[in-house]
């Protein structure tokens, strides 16, 4: 693998990332500013109220002094562009600052802490669903390709199209209504029961809470994977080397899983990674419906409360993850396809 290529790719990722963080900083700046100004006013006002016996001109001085102090602290009197650049720089160095309104589970104010505790929850939910989707999707896709045009193929293709425009959060709503409230066999949301369990039971409890959301995601998710797998595998099956392998007496199983699937692996892998990345991004609302305290839910709460630092942190993390995933994908693709790996002609 060409080291030059890897470095170039990563460098490109970093540049794009910087530009995006800059754009975010621009967007958020005005909102954050407004919020902080208001907060400063309130804080100073509270301070003044606490000092009951101060003559009015002293009050004025005090207020001016304090405002200047606070403005300095938040750099509010510096020109706009500089503030934006500073924020960009800080975000890039992972200095996310403190949330304006929100607090973490342990009551901390640090934006990164708040975000950090939600990351594993989101990851576990969507990874589980994606892995199940991939397994089912690839298996079904291969079966479809083997008997292309057959009953399974046609039926599943129609199925793919039927769920194509179905919002995951809506299906989630239906499942919650039915299984969560009408026949109460699954919890209608949240990540743990109250009162929470300990140890291994907590682990099982979380799994219990994951059932409905994961089922929702799987019901909608595997069709696309199977459709794509079917097309890629079918295309590969029509290649000459497949016929040649069969002619050599190689058993069908080895032809299918070895020769065909290995060759088809790059595009399928791309699709797998893309679907994981997309599922995390596109499902902000999904978490909300299930009251699943992950990144998506956090993002939404932050938007509602206009807590900009948390929003920027989340955006920075999510965007970073997406860009990194894409870059890694590109590089791994190279490893998977020996035609690129050894630098040969494609």
């Amino acid at each position: 693998m060409n080291w030059k290529y890897i470095i170039k790719r990563l460098l490109l990722t970093v540049i794009v990332y910087v530009i995006l963080v800059f754009i975010y900083s621009v967007l958020f700046n005005s909102v954050l500013e407004r919020t902080i100004r208001v907060q400063i006013q309130e804080k100073i006002q509270a301070e003044i109220m606490a000092m009951t016996d101060m003559p009015s001109d002293q009050v004025r001085n005090y207020r001016e002094q304090r405002m200047k102090q606070e403005y300095d602290r938040y750099e509010l009197d510096k020109p706009v562009l500089q503030r934006i650049l500073n924020r960009t720089k800080r975000t890039l160095t992972f200095d996310f600052g403190n949330a304006t309104h929100m607090r973490s589970k342990t009551g901390e104010q640090n934006a990164w802490t708040i975000v950090k505790e939600t990351i594993p929850r989101t990851v576990i939910l969507f990874s589980t669903a994606t892995i199940i989707n991939l397994i089912i999707g690839i298996m079904v896709g291969i079966k479809k390709a083997q008997k292309a045009g057959g009953a399974l193929d046609k039926a599943t293709s129609i199925g793919t199209m039927i769920v194509f425009g179905m919002p995951a959060w809506w299906l989630g709503m239906l499942l919650i209504m039915f299984f969560g409230y009408t026949i109460k066999i699954f919890p209608p949301g949240g990540i743990q029961s109250t009162p929470p369990f300990d140890g291994f039971r907590a682990f099982l409890d979380q799994g219990y809470h994951m059932v409905l959301p994961v089922i929702t995601l799987v019901i909608l998710g595997f069709w696309g994977t199977s459709f794509l797998t079917r097309n890629v595998v079918l295309g590969t099956l029509q290649e000459d080397f497949v016929m040649s392998a069969r002619a050599r007496g190689i058993p069908e199983r080895a032809v299918l899983y070895g020769h065909t699937l290995r060759t088809a692996a790059p595009p399928i892998t791309t699709m797998a990674v893309m679907s994981l990345v997309n599922s995390i991004f596109g499902n902000i609302v999904f978490e909300g419906i299930f009251s699943w305290p992950g990144m998506g839910n956090l993002y939404f709460t932050a938007v509602q409360q206009q807590d900009v630092p948390v929003q920027i942190t989340l955006l920075a993390i999510l965007t970073g993850m997406q860009l990194l995933a894409l870059a890694i994908l590109d590089i791994v693709y190279g490893f998977l396809d020996p035609r690129i790996k050894v630098g040969g002609r494609r």
């Binding site: 490109l12 794009v16 990332y17 530009i19 995006l20 754009i23 967007l27 958020f28 005005s30 909102v31 292309a148 045009g149 293709s157 129609i158 793919t160 199209m161 039927i162 769920v163 194509f164 425009g165 179905m166 919002p167 959060w169 809506w170 299906l171 709503m173 239906l174 919650i176 209504m177 409230y181 009408t182 209608p188 097309n231 079918l234 295309g235 099956l237 029509q238 991004f281 596109g282 902000i284 609302v285 909300g288 419906i289 993002y299 939404f300 938007v303 509602q304 206009q306 929003q311 989340l314 955006l315 999510l318 965007t319 997406q322 860009l323 894409l326």
Partner: protein
């Protein structure tokens, strides 16, 4: 290409398309949706509903959170559907001096088990008449619901009185004649459920509506007009049913069937406009990259990568939160982010086309850039373009619905996403109001399915070798 060439190509395409069964199904659905939009004013049972969607007063007389009418088919106890009584017998009694006496008689056939939620009298006119409302039950008993109430007729809305809200005491008194002491003690005089009392058998359990009294009820309204210029016009009685409408009502008493029908045009508008704009931009962008190559390609690719890295939903959320956008701004932003979709594929196809000898030939003949791009390259991409457009529509519709669900959408329009937003916030899920949640989402899914059918059918024609072995 001449007109005939175009027509031939189109017929060729159409012949291929006809062969794909699900493509035709999709097309049929699309036509149905379009017809529903065109005939919307005729289908929607409520006039002026579009503007009145947020107007609480408009929907006042309807029940809250009521099931669709057809659920009666499946339940043992039939619920009363909403109905408007407009026929009445008007009698004028002999005048006494200036004072005039009018009587209006309405007949109502009641054949259900569960009483309506309310009975509301409305009328227009002028003045401040004194109104008495009494109801004669099929068992011969009469209840005076409202006695000599002065009702002020406003010039804008007329006059309105709700039995449920105003006849509590009278209903309680009536009930106390027949009800057991035990049951009565559990009922508060001012919070009694009036309608079941009026319409149940005069027996123990009347306060709970234990057994419905079926038959014909006569509602008598007497009005006393004291001044000569006073008059009463168009009295109407609305039975606010326990079931209402084809798809029930929401917590603002709005008829959901109306909402669903009104939402169709927005869904199609959002989907088609967004996909048209973004795919067009994307395809042209990709072709230009492929055509010019070199430094142009490199720069454009970098710009592309920046846009590609922007996560659409989070950005949409942020912008909506900051700016509270109209639907047009939302469409614009979506268009600005979705264009990245087709670019990679279009560029690689474009690169292949560029290597074709006919391009070289055209260049040798002196064709300019514009001509080459738009007359030679783009037409070859048209099938892919249309397939992409069709396949993008569902995504755009869901994106808008998602934003609306978060409460960040354009609240002035009636979109399915807005309806779902009200549902979620109105506790529809917890309370199991399935008629509020299922139809809007189902419509989103069906519309998505329609365009998926169409788009995949086009895609299938594009890649015939993947049909079967």
């Amino acid at each position: 290409m001449t007109l005939k060439d175009r027509k031939d190509k189109f017929m060729e395409f159409w012949n291929e398309y006809k062969k794909v069964k699900f493509g035709l199904v999709g097309l049929a659905f699309l036509i149905i949706l379009l017809l529903l939009i065109i005939f919307e004013p005729l289908i929607v049972p409520f006039e002026g509903a579009t503007e009145a969607w947020s107007d609480i007063a408009y929907w006042q007389d309807y029940p809250q959170n009521s099931r669709p009418v057809w659920t009666n088919f499946f339940s043992k106890d039939k619920r009363t559907p909403s109905v408007i009584l407009e026929d009445f017998k008007e009698t004028e009694l002999p005048q006494r001096g200036q004072v005039r006496f009018f009587e209006y008689e309405f007949e109502y056939d009641y054949n259900y088990d569960i009483a309506p939620k309310d009975m509301i009298l409305r009328f227009k006119g002028d003045g401040k008449p004194f109104v008495t409302i009494s109801i004669i039950r099929p068992d011969g008993k009469t209840i005076d619901l409202i006695r000599n109430r002065e009702m002020i007729i406003s010039s804008i809305d007329g006059a309105r009185v709700s039995i449920q809200n105003n006849s509590g005491a009278n209903a309680y008194n009536f009930a106390s004649n027949y009800e057991s002491a035990e049951n009565l003690s559990g009922v508060a005089r001012d919070r009694i459920d009036v309608m079941p009392v009026i319409m149940s058998k005069a027996d123990v359990g009347i306060t709970k509506g234990a057994e419905a009294l079926k038959g014909t009820y006569t509602i008598k309204i007497s009005a006393i007009l004291r001044e000569p210029q006073e008059n009463i016009e168009k009295p109407i009685i609305t039975m606010s049913g326990a079931v209402s409408g084809l798809m029930g009502t929401d917590n603002q008493k709005r008829d959901l069937f109306t909402g669903i029908i009104l939402g169709i045009k927005w869904a199609l508008l959002i989907g088609l406009l967004t996909s048209f704009v973004s795919i067009t931009i994307g395809v042209i962008y990709g072709v230009i990259c492929a055509y010019f190559g070199g430094i142009v390609d490199v720069i454009m690719q970098r710009i592309f990568e920046i846009f590609y890295g922007i996560p659409m939903l989070p950005l949409l959320i942020v912008v909506s939160a900051i700016f509270s956008p109209s639907i047009w701004l939302l469409i614009a932003i979506m268009g600005l982010l979705y264009w990245v979709g087709p670019v990679k594929t279009v560029r690689s196809i474009g690169l292949q086309i560029r290597e074709e000898t006919f391009i070289e030939a055209s260049q040798a003949l002196g064709a300019g850039h514009f001509r080459l791009i738009f007359k030679h390259m783009v037409p070859l991409l048209l099938p892919y373009t249309f397939a992409s457009m069709a396949l993008l529509v569902p995504g755009a519709i869901v994106a808008e619905a998602t934003i609306s669900l978060l409460g960040l959408g354009d609240t002035t329009i009636v979109s399915w996403g807005q309806i779902l937003n009200s549902a979620f916030r109105g506790g529809a899920i917890i309370n199991g109001y399935w008629w509020w949640v299922v139809p809007p989402g189902l419509m989103i899914a069906i519309t998505g399915m329609t365009f998926a059918f169409i788009g995949f059918a086009m895609d299938k024609i594009l890649h015939p070798k993947l049909k079967s072995r």
